[in-house]
Every structure is written in C-alpha cells, then in structure tokens.
Symmetry: C2
Subunit: 479 residues, 2 copies
C-alpha cells in the first residue's frame, strides 16, 4: 500500500529479542518495559496512521536516569531507538521499526520549578503542552507555542518537531521559547544544554529524535495579555483571502494569530460544530490582543485593509461567548475533516506574499490529481496545512494522495518556502529533502548526526533520504 | 603580561609563509591578499586590545566564491583561518595567531534583496549592522538587534556572536532574527542553510567562527513602531535599581529596553557628553513603544512600580530632543569610560531576579580586588556588562582585572546565569567554560566542531579550554 520504503529490519537484532528485553528489564522498574505484542501494538504508529509497525519493545521511564539506563542498554546491544512523545506526529516521526525499542517520555510528568519572576518553568518533557499553560493559569502566565494537538502532545515532541501553533505568529515557535534542556545522548550520557559555546539548544529544536532524548526543559513563559479579541472575515475567493493576509502582514500589524479555512473545511466544520461560520470560499480568523484601546485600534486597521478587498462578511467578536464561537470551528477543524473520511495533513511554509499564488496552484493540482483538498492553516506565518482527502480502502488512493502532497510541497519550496513548518520531515517528507537541499547541504546535517549518534541508533531511516544516508548508516553499522 | 595562553604557532606553517601567500594570490584579485607586515598589523587584534598578534596574511574577499577559494587554499595547505567581521569583538574572537590567515568579510557589502512584503532583507554579511536599518529607513522598517558597536560591526560578526543590544529585550537577539544563510565550510564547500532537517541555522548563531564563514544572510525585518518614548529613573542604591528592573519584568510589562548605569558610569558620561543625568547611585533608562495611548499606559504602570521604590528622579521624555538626550549618555557610555583609562568590558547574564544580589556581590568583589568597576548594561534581560577599570601600564594590573572579571562571571553562573550574553567566549572566557559546563557538556560541542571542521582550522584555540580541546586538536593535526 505504502509508497514510502523503510529498510528491512535487522534479523540479527530480532533474533536477540528476548536477550534485549531481559537486559532492559534488569535495570528498569517492572512496569517500565513493555514487550507483550498485544501491548506494543499501541505504539505501532503515530498520527500518520497509514504506516504501522510494532517495535521489539517499549520502554516508559519516569526519570532522566531511567532514560539513560535504557539508552545505555540499547547502545551496548546496538538496538535502534525510536523516541516518542505522545505519538501525535503527522509525519511518521515516531513510527517504529520491527528491530527497534521505543522510548516514550509520557511518564516524565513532573513540573520541577515555576519561576514567574524570571519568567520560566522547568518541566520533565512528558508533560503535555496544554498542561504547562494550565500550571501557570493561576499566576496569570502562559506558554506560547500551541499546536493543534496541544491537549495530548508533549514538550518532548514539541522540541523534537520545533512545534508552532496558531499563536506563534506573534510569539515564535518552540526554538524561540526554549531556554535550557537536559538531554540523554545515544550512548546514555546525560548533558545539560544552555548558553555559551556552540548552541546545541538551537540545534536540538526540530531534530526529530536524531540527536538524543530531551528529558527536562526550561521554557520561557509569558504574562497573559490584558485582553484578546478574534474577528472573522469571509471572502468569496481563496486568492483574495490570501491577499488579505499578505496585506495585513505588509502593513506592519502583528496580530497574535491569522488562521485560514477554505470552503471544504467550512462546510465540514459547520456540519460538525455548528460554529455559525458563513458559507463562502474562505474565512480568516484574525486575533489581536492588548489593552482595550490597542485592540480597538488594531481591529480598525484590519477592517480598513479587509474592506478594500470586499469581504462577504466581517464579524468582530463582541464578548467572550462570541470569541469562543469564532475559535470553536477552527479548533474542531481536524476532527470535523476526519468525519469526511481519510485525509493526509500536509505541512509546508511559503512567504506570505506567495499565499494567493500557492492557493491557486493547490486548486489546480487538486483537479490534476482528482482528489479533493481542504485548506486550514496558520496563514500569518505562511504555514500551510492542506488536507488531502482520500479513501484508504480504495487501492492506489493513498499513493495518489502522497503524490499530490509531494507536488504541493515542491510548490512551497519553489516559491521560496520550506517543506516543513512544524510537523517535521519524519518519513513523510524524507525523500523530498532533495528538493530543498543540495547533497552538500544535507551532508553537513548528517555529519552532525554522525557526531552525536555515531552508530545511527536514534530514529534511523527518517529525515534523510535513504540513498543519501546510506553511506552514513553503513559506516555506522560497523561502530 | 597576559594571563591567557595561546598555543605556540606552528613553525612548519610559518616556514611556508611565502608559498601560502603565493597560493592565495594566485586565485584571488591582487588587492584581496595582504601580507605586508605594515598592513597586516592593522589586523593584529580586535577590541580586546590587550592581546595582539599579527597573522601570516589577511584575505579580504568580495564574493562567496572568493571566500570559498581562500578557504580551499587554507584547507589544502592546512593553515588555520581566523574569520573576522569588523574586529569589534571584546572577547578576542578575532585575535589572530602568527600561523594563521585572517579572512575578513568587510568587503562583502552588497544588499541583495529587500522584501518588505515578506519582512526580510538579504545581504552579504560584511554590511554593518546599522546600515541594514539605514537601507530600510525609507520603507519604515528596521533590523532589531542593535549592539553598541552597530556603527562598525558587521552582520557576519553579529551571527558569529549571536549579538544582542539594548532593544533585544523585546525583539530577541540575532538567532531570533536570522531566517537563512549561505556559509563556506572549512574545506571551501558552500552550503545554504534554511528550515527542515537539523537546524544548522540555529547552530551557527553564536558559533564564533568555529564552523564556517557566513557570507550571505537573510534577516527578519520589523515595521518601525508608531512611537517610542524613553524615561529615566534614578535611585540612590544599585540594589534598589536592580529590584525595580526585576519588578517591571515580573509585572508582565515588556518595554523595548531597560538599560542600567551606575554612579561611576554616570559621572564619566556627564563629564563627556553632558547628557544632564542626575547625580545618584544608579539610573535606569526604560523605553516603551506603541501607539500614544499604549505608551501612556505603559509609562503609568512603570511609574507606579518605580514609585514604590522611592526613586530620586523620574523623568519622562516630552519630545524628540529629550528622548535623544536620555539616550545620548547611554550611547556614549563606552566612549566616556575609555577616557577614564583602560577597562575590561565583561559580558555575563543573570536571571533578572538575581540582579540586586549580583550588583551587591560585584561591589564587594571590587573592594576585594582593589579595582574600580562601572556597571552599564541591558538590565531587562539580565545581560550585565561590568567595566573593570585598570591601568595597562601598571605591571600586574591586567592580570588583577582579569581575575576580578573571572570572579564576576563565576557569580553569574552560580546564580543560574551564563558566562556570556552577547560577546561570545573567544579567548577571554575560554577557561571559564568549565564553570558553566561539565566535560560531557563541552565534549558534544567539540564533537560538532569535529564534524564540520575536522582539521580544526577555523579559529582554533578559542571558545574551548585548551586542555579540553587538546585531544581534538591533536587528532585534527593528523587530518
């Protein structure tokens, strides 16, 4: 079924399965090692459910030391390790191989320190994204990155994918909000990352489990704004909605969020959540924040920009209920789309001035490939999430969807964008890396991998095209 | 005189001097290679003038290809390369060794692209920091990082040091404003860095010329705010001024800048610039920006915080002239201090809540070491710049100043801060890295260096303590 190849599992490792499990069990608490096939099946995929493979075993440590102990065993026995947060990756970042041990961070759930004076929180990385902000609620602070999966996804996964979210237009993505980290390297060594010398902290954001497992993180926290207000702007053309986004950004305004939903998505959302969205070609949700006069000023300026483009609707929230209603549809968009059938959720970025062109091209490609597409995404920073609808039970449909997706991502790169915004490369976009990078550009990334994970045990066969990584993996096999 | 050792230059390289110069001259324009000792002397130091050593030769390329050609020659002949921007480093980052070739970026001065729609500018990295903003002035945009040396310092140096400046409290430092880069590696290979895969872009910010020479950079630009207004707040105690900073930050306000100057600095500045500063123990300059109501609101809230701490003066700028006057003294502080004699300008960071304690400890250490110290720094982000006054002509004074400086930086690390904010480690803080990092923490940094510069030709003997880097440099010698 699948179009993305994984290397054949190492039969030698699989033949040592019981030995590996025994070695892990010997140094970890009894409930920390899972090897019963009935139970490991829960870890056979992440949110890219088209690809599945149960691992040899799953380890769920509670401390940095337990992670390090498990990594030492895997390193000694040369077993690949698949780091896993909550398994919400849409790019297959946490897909196991049959010869691998999954090390999950979800039981690393302690909040270690809250320091509002210095605007930071230190947590174990298995805490979920939303619970970080929940911890800070009473003190009036929050943690800015807010991926759609924030109820489930962990800080470990956020660091691995350099996660963003709707509110990252103003506050930046994970790398802009990570102040320090404790990481376990492939050989089980524990290192602390901070400022001074080479910025390993910057390097690990978005490293997709290639360099180590981050077990503790110090995160920048922000005071909650005085107030925030969304508005909803409807247009009768996707390109005009895209043009509106470009004009808002060009004007110098910096809303907290500019979200985009097209008609396919709007209809699905209306059926599902009854958010009261208008029936039109595209809707923008723009949120601004600050003091009352500041909010009013920003809304007036955005309204003036929108009015030049003849919106079919301009709805400003007048109270908390209306704000919730405006956001409700957007927040339920992925669930609503799921009811329509299977979909592939893409993730690419384009310069905001190229949004109108890119939306037009996606429409044309949809016709060429004969598959419907819905667009719902973080428009303000040009982070697109086209959802390609397909039927997993129709032979060949997944392959067609993947080919369509690849075409869209190539358009993103062609217009000066990037093939990933916040989902990572994983297995999904592994072979597209060549459209973004020259062999030389990729080589230095793999040399960094060689340096920190010389045996290529951490999440191998991901991120880098198999052909390009072959010499590195081959060399590593003798390590 | 000096307390910081550099390894003995390689006599073998020096004996090949004319051969090396001939090889460089053969592939570069005639005026791009400087080897006359009278002329190379201009490159014998950077702004850490206590340490001087003329290089074998200086290369001043005008294109990425010329940088790559020079790097290929140096790599083939195994000659160390000292990357240099404008030479404004205060930590000895651009100090040559006698067996090295300096490659300067100052002739890479083209502005390649201005794209206000997508809020970016692409430049060759020899353009100065201030000229980037000057290029954008007419369109109403600016580039946020603003180091004190911004009139002279280059974007290449800013990237190498991850430079900040007074206005980085709100807008972040270089790493938060760098969107892409073209870099020449140690072997002359040219790579383009962008998003997707491992974040080499994050890694090179602050890498102090250890990994390559960045020749082109794409920088994020920001629209100029509607308005900005500084205020000056005087206190009769350094600790209380520090407490005021901590309370402003804790309150959730985010001024564009919070600058601190103590009495030693205030007196020097008054003699020099007649800025009309009050005669008190410490002054804060706090600048806020936004629309008029927003500015007024922020000033009122800052005034309320300051009032609780009995300031001896609270002066709000009423017009452009008064704003200039408030900033005039701060901007001339380093020049003013230079008139008092020699000084060592330190650079460390502390959590803002630890500012009062750290200022008190610096006062105590000043008495212990018998040397006067002036404090002038970016208080809002805890980035301290104590200036230790000494007399370069008094034997032993530099060594005492350095010992005092090391004690201050250890205090920064002890209270949870970092031994560098924006000046880098260079040679100055090389041996203090052990107070911040364990051998394991440092080892992974050096393994990254091994990966990208296997022969350790780029700025060797800097950043990492010589003892720790010895095995790496030794292995590299056989490369």
């Amino acid at each position: 079924m699948s179009t993305i190849a994984m290397p054949a599992p190492d039969a030698g490792i699989i033949s040592r399965k019981s030995e590996i499990i025994a070695a892990l069990a010997a140094i970890l608490p009894p409930d920390a090692v899972i090897s019963d096939p009935e139970e490991t099946r829960a870890y056979e995929c992440d949110a890219l459910t088209a690809y599945r493979c149960a691992p040899l075993a799953v380890v769920l440590p509670r401390t940095t030391e337990e992670v390090a102990a498990a990594m030492r065993v895997c390193h000694r026995m040369r077993v690949p390790v698949i780091p896993r947060g909550a398994g919400t990756s849409l790019a297959g970042g946490a897909l196991p191989t049959a010869d691998s041990v999954v090390i999950g961070t979800m039981r690393l759930r302690d909040v270690l320190e809250i320091d509002t004076d210095n605007r930071l929180i230190r947590v174990q990385t298995g805490v979920t994204n939303l619970s970080v902000s929940a911890e800070l609620e009473a003190q009036g602070f929050f943690y800015a990155p807010d991926p759609s999966s924030q109820l489930a996804c962990t800080i470990a996964g956020n660091i691995g994918m350099n996660s963003g979210g709707a509110h990252c237009l103003k506050y930046g993505v994970t790398t802009n909000n990570l102040l320090g980290a404790r990481m376990v390297l492939a050989d089980g060594e524990i290192v602390d990352l901070a400022g001074g010398g080479l910025d390993i902290l910057g390097l690990i954001c978005g490293s997709e489990g290639q360099l180590g497992i981050v077990t503790e993180a110090t995160l920048r926290i922000l005071p909650k704004p005085e107030g925030a207000r969304p508005m909803l702007i409807g247009f009768d053309s996707p390109e005009v909605a895209g043009e509106c986004v470009a004009r808002i950004i060009r004007s110098g305004l910096l809303p907290v969020a500019i979200e985009y939903m097209d008609d396919v998505c709007l209809r699905a959302v209306e059926d599902f959540a009854r958010a009261g969205y208008p029936d039109c070609a595209a809707v923008l949700i723009v949120e601004v924040e600050g003091s009352e006069p500041e909010i009013a000023d920003q809304i007036a300026r955005i309204r003036a920009i929108a009015d030049q483009l003849n919106p079919v609707e301009f709805r400003e929230s007048r109270n908390a209920d209306e704000s919730l209603a405006i956001w409700k549809g957007r927040k339920s968009a992925f669930g609503a789309m799921g009811r329509l059938g299977d979909y592939l959720c893409l993730d690419g970025t384009v310069p905001v001035s190229k949004l109108p062109f890119t939306l037009k091209r996606i429409g044309e490609l949809s016709k060429e490939h004969g598959l419907e597409v819905a667009n719902v995404f973080h428009a303000g920073d040009g982070n697109m999430h086209p959802l390609i609808l397909f039927d997993a039970n129709t032979p060949g449909d997944l392959e067609r969807a993947e080919a369509f997706g690849a075409d869209i991502l190539r358009v993103c790169v062609d217009v000066g964008g990037c093939l990933t915004g916040e989902h990572g490369v994983g297995i999904e976009k592994r072979d597209l890396m060549t459209s973004q990078y020259t062999p030389e550009d990729m080589a230095i990334q793999m040399e960094i991998k060689d340096a920190l994970d010389p045996c290529w045990l951490l999440n191998p066969a991901k991120v880098f095209p198999l052909e390009a990584s072959q010499p590195h993996r081959q060399r590593a096999a003798t390590c």
